[in-house]
């Protein structure tokens, strides 16, 4: 066998090198690029035509949409307020808008590292959630009182999300600490609560809280259906989040807790000053993922009769005249979810990359 020296690799730079390596590395690769590239362009142009070019914006009802080649966005003009605000009184829609903005601002602010602290972050969320509740309920400063039966659309979705996260997070911390407790009964009870909750579908838990709980609770403890469902949802969130926090706690070297105990720090001081801050830092990407999933899953309450944005979207196409425009309405509602969920999950991915860089 004679050894033949291979020619040195040709150094290519920039765009040409990228095109050769990523699009045309061999003939098969090139064929795939051309075939799938053409198909993608075709689908994209169809979608563009449908969504932006061949559209109808200005017809009074669904019958005017029949001739439309593309999307009939007139349905959003006609029913957009129903989708976004549900049955909230028309004159008070600005309050619902501001309330949602308050939660959006709170969410964005909690992405800023300056607000990451065991005192600051809870405080931020309490203020944000308090603003939301004050605006939604009203009943002061000349704002008429609006009870929860009238809440609907996007603001109900945002309420569920914020209430579940705000009340679920402390519960998750409690469950995670209880599951690591040295007392066997406490550990066992927390473990049972977490495992049973995690093995049941969310819908069955919410259904139990909404429909079945009135049977099993004395009258004074029943409360509002919305409150019961929110608390049940918070329990579900907490069961998953507790395991995330527990994983974060387990990643902390045992010696840290022992050293703190040797210095004479009490349990709560060790937990709040040493263990939890690191546990949250360790589990940040998983926590963001869980928060994102929770936002998406609020849509499930539509099944047990709440009028959040999924249900109000269905209502917008439910009655007669716009029933043919279901694609437009579902795309509109889907986009609202998408913006929030995609934004948060991108942020989570950024944090993960940053953490990996700092580890190195």
């Amino acid at each position: 066998m004679t050894a033949t020296a291979m020619p040195p690799p040709v150094l290519e730079r920039g765009a040409l090198r990228w095109v050769r390596r990523r699009l045309f590395s061999n003939w098969f690769d090139g064929a795939i690029t051309i075939l799938f590239g053409a198909a993608t362009l075709w689908v994209a142009s169809m979608a563009l035509d449908w969504a932006l070019l061949d559209t109808v914006w200005n017809v009074p009802d669904g019958s005017g949409c029949r001739e439309a080649e593309g999307a009939c966005w007139a349905v959003i003009r006609a029913r957009g307020r129903l989708i976004l605000f549900g049955l909230y009184p028309y004159e008070e829609h600005w309050r619902s808008t501001l309330a949602c903005l308050a939660i959006v601002v709170t969410t964005v602010l909690s992405c800023v590292p300056r607000f990451w602290g065991m005192k600051r972050l809870p405080l931020l969320w309490l203020v944000g959630f308090g603003t939301f509740m004050a605006l939604m309920f009203g009943g002061f400063l000349g704002m008429p009182l609006v009870t929860t039966e009238k809440w609907g659309g996007l603001s109900l979705t945002v309420f569920l999300f914020a209430a579940v996260v705000v009340s679920g997070m402390p519960l998750a911390v409690a469950l995670a600490l209880a599951r690591r407790s040295k007392l066997p009964v406490v550990r066992g009870v927390a473990g049972a609560v977490i495992d049973v909750t995690r093995s049941l579908p969310l819908l069955t838990i919410l259904f139990t809280a909404a429909v079945v709980a009135p049977f099993a609770l004395p009258g004074w403890a029943q409360g509002d259906k919305l409150v019961r469902v929110t608390l049940a949802f918070a329990l579900f969130f907490a069961a998953y989040q507790a395991e995330i926090i527990r994983a974060g706690l387990q990643a902390i070297p045992e010696g840290q807790d022992e050293a703190a105990a040797a210095l004479g720090l009490r349990y709560w001081t060790r937990v709040s000053r040493i263990l939890l801050p690191q546990a949250f830092q360790n589990s940040l990407p998983a926590t963001i993922n869980q928060v994102v999933i929770t936002f998406k899953e609020t849509s499930i309450v539509t099944i047990i009769g709440f009028f959040e944005i999924m249900a109000s979207g269905n209502a917008a196409i439910g009655r007669g005249d716009w029933s043919g425009q279901y694609v437009e309405v579902y795309v509109f509602v889907g986009l609202i979810y998408f913006v929030f969920v995609f934004g948060l999950s991108r942020y989570g991915a950024y944090l993960e990359r940053r953490a990996r860089r700092m580890d190195r």
Partner: protein, 383 residues
């Protein structure tokens, strides 16, 4: 007394006793209140109601279940529906996920982009919204009169997908499923035992299955009936053949498409977890590109995927409960209708939770067995 409180062990006992007391007290008060409320409504507790007839039908069932069936039968029908949707949905999701995951790790930039766009769109929109969307799409198809013909043997309309059907009962189908399992099991054993030429094992198994199919087809049917019935338009609806209802299709599509996006990410992660050095080692040993993929990369990637995949399967199985939103009678829908109709709240709730616990633990068990089977051998023998 106060000094006793300072003692850590005493304090531990007191805390534990308090927690235990609260848990027992709460549970007892739930059950007592529920008992009291139910007897006040004249509902007797116990599982006797399972023998009563329901008086309401469901629109999709594998076994015969109508308004004269008992509650027990109806619940079984619901459980089977959940399992059917779950199994088909999980298979679809795995298939889509495999494709998407491979597209995302491909070196081709166009495939990369398609995979990324797919994952981002379908993962970031709630499953229930996707279910509503597919259901609306399927029920806005033309009516049976203007049904879309599919290559001459099937039709697509707003009542579902009509396909030709073999004249077989569910019993025959059950036997066929058992036959398939037996064939796969027997073939793997035979191949390992190497009693006959391994090349003939799988074709032989296939031929055996085909014979079983023909036997079942000819013995199971009434003389004079056609072996195959085709869907035909009679008046306003189709007669004959086999109908796949839009509720079922929409739920299966939603689970497959949504689950596919998540599984795609798991597949991608699995492949990225394979160390570069092992692939290079394979290449250095002179394996071809195909051999490296088939013998090194894929087996290692599958091992890395399995735990995440098990979680995802359990999660998707639980997510089938959204079928109730589009009117698919899964286990949850049957149970909640039963609660409404019979009022046997506590018993039905226990059955509901029990059903899901069993389903989830079986998935977990199967995946664990798979995990142990696939685990790289050698480490255990050393220790």
């Amino acid at each position: 007394m106060l000094s006793a409180l300072r003692n850590r062990r005493v304090r531990g006992w007191i805390i534990q006793a308090a927690v235990l007391g609260i848990v027992v007290g709460l549970t007892a008060s739930f059950i007592l209140t529920a008992r009291h409320n139910l007897t006040a409504q004249g509902i007797s507790t116990g599982f006797g109601f399972l023998e009563r007839t329901t008086g309401w039908p469901i629109n999709f069932s594998l076994i015969e279940a109508d308004d004269r069936s008992t509650y027990a039968r109806m619940l079984l029908a619901g459980l089977l529906n959940t399992l059917l949707v779950g199994v088909i949905g999980l298979a679809g999701a795995s298939l889509i996920g495999m494709t998407v995951g491979l597209a995302r790790i491909s070196t081709n930039a166009v495939l990369n982009m398609i995979g990324t766009v797919y994952v981002e769109i379908f993962r970031n929109v709630p499953l229930i919204l996707q279910g509503f969307f597919w259901y609306a799409l399927l029920t806005h198809l033309p009516s049976p009169r203007q049904a879309i013909p599919l290559g001459g043997f099937g039709f697509l309309s707003n009542r579902g997908l009509m396909l030709p059907a073999f004249d077989m009962g569910w019993l025959d189908l059950g036997l066929l499923v058992i036959g398939v399992m037996a064939a796969v099991f027997g073939a793997t054993r035979l191949q390992r035992a190497a009693l006959i030429n391994p090349r003939w094992v799988w074709p032989g198994a296939l031929a055996g299955l085909f014979v079983l199919f023909l036997v079942l087809l000819f013995t199971g049917h009434q003389p004079g009936d056609p072996l195959v019935t085709y869907p035909e338009l009679k008046g306003l609806r189709f007669v004959g053949g086999f109908v796949i209802k839009p509720e079922f299709s929409a739920l299966v599509i939603a689970i497959s498409v949504f689950g596919g996006a998540y599984i795609g990410e798991i597949v991608r992660g699995g492949f990225l977890a394979v160390e570069r050095g092992r692939i290079e080692a394979g290449l250095a040993l002179g394996l071809s590109g195909f051999q490296v993929n088939w013998l090194v990369r894929i087996p290692l990637a599958i091992r890395a995927m399995l735990p995440a995949l098990a979680n995802q399967y359990v999660w998707l199985m639980k997510a089938t409960t959204i079928g109730i939103a589009i009117g698919f009678p899964d286990y949850f829908m049957v149970v909640s209708t039963s609660i409404n109709q019979s009022g046997q709240t506590i018993e039905l709730l226990a059955l509901l939770m029990g059903g899901f616990l069993i389903i989830n633990y079986s998935i977990g068990w199967v995946m664990n067995v798979l995990n142990r089977r696939l685990a790289i051998k050698g480490r255990e023998t050393e220790t």
